[in-house]
Subunit: 219 residues, 2 copies
């Protein structure tokens, strides 16, 4: 039992160190030796948890995707909005989210660097299915198609924000995106009950603490 | 006069070679010597036109932005839609557009590599101002804000498409994006006159011919 706890702690250290190094250097340049050093973990312990760097990178992405948004009750569409705002708020201090943005940016140039598009699409799809079931979405809405569209537009907005000097605030850029997207997604009766700025975006304590050292090269 | 023509031809060779090398290697790794070799141009001729690699990279982006969409008559909003489809069609064979996508992907990791976000936003803004003037857009639409939103969502869609295996066709992904965005952008009376798949996307002969050799590393 104690051993299991220790193994889980080691796994979390590796995920966190992996995310931090990827966020700072990019997926392609992230080295296993730097990750091991940051995590304070031996090579043997690493390979117990992850058979390859690839597997570790995948696990970092899946870790973020496993953060299930809260079910706040109707309208469900608000959950999707809130989730993007919460991720944006957390993004600057949560290494998992910073790693994900970095990987999205690297998606063309980084060989064998998976991007977070599929994970985000899956997250949105789950939320949209609940919305559709509750009769919030426009007739003919296909949750899978809409989820791809939302994932592409949402990650594009995060990249745009990073690339153009981070003005205005990301939360304002997200609100604009939702104002443009929602009328094509939900019924008017739902629309006027939604807040594009995020109804409840108080950021919960994430899976990682805030006392992290940053790798120096965090531009 | 002859000298001027020759200078213009050299400049175009450099722009084209620059775009091809950037598209293949990324902006950061694109080397001036490879660009010179592809263009068949001397270093002296390069510096006559572009004082630095930076200046050449900027010029490649501006070259694309200078492609003004045709004024097809009302509804002007259709011009924006058609333009994105035309760019998507041309993207796979036009080195300027491939370079731009590559730079958008590199926007976080590539030091000093400008991304095309601002250029696309400016292009959309011009089109949206015409739409707004013609009374096509929803009351309260701010062309500058909407242009940023469209540029982010559009480039995000191109990256998503590249990163997720290019299925479905880019033109279908763009149509879905427009179907989601247009109800939040234009008046219902305009909306039902628009074709999200692009009304007229026959690709004109671009600024570059199609007989280009590709650098080998074009993943």
């Amino acid at each position: 039992m104690v051993r299991q706890k220790r193994a889980e702690r080691t796994r979390r250290s590796l995920l966190r160190a992996g995310a931090e190094v990827i966020a700072a250097r990019g997926c392609e340049k992230a080295s296993l030796s730097e990750i091991l050093q940051r995590a304070g973990v031996t090579k043997g312990a690493l390979y117990f948890h992850f058979p390859s760097k690839d597997a570790l990178v995948r696990a970092v992405l899946e870790e973020r995707a496993a953060v299930v948004p809260p079910d706040s009750g109707q309208p469900y569409a608000q959950d999707s909005i809130d989730f993007t705002h919460r991720a944006a708020h957390a993004g600057e201090r949560d290494p998992l989210l910073r790693a994900e943005t970095r990987m999205a940016a690297e998606s063309l140039s980084g060989k064998d660097c998976p991007a977070a598009y599929r994970e985000w699409s899956a997250t949105f799809q789950g939320m949209l299915r609940r919305s559709a079931k509750a009769g919030e979405t426009l007739p003919g809405t296909d949750p899978a198609e809409s989820a791809d569209t939302l994932a592409a537009a949402y990650l594009g907005t995060r990249l745009f924000w990073h690339a153009t000097g981070q003005r205005p605030e990301l939360t304002e850029m997200l609100a604009r995106l939702w104002r443009h997207l929602l009328p094509g997604l939900v019924l008017p009766a739902t629309l006027h009950r939604l807040d594009p700025h995020g109804g409840d975006v108080s950021v919960e304590a994430g899976s990682t603490d805030e006392s992290s050292r940053e790798p120096s090269e965090t531009r």
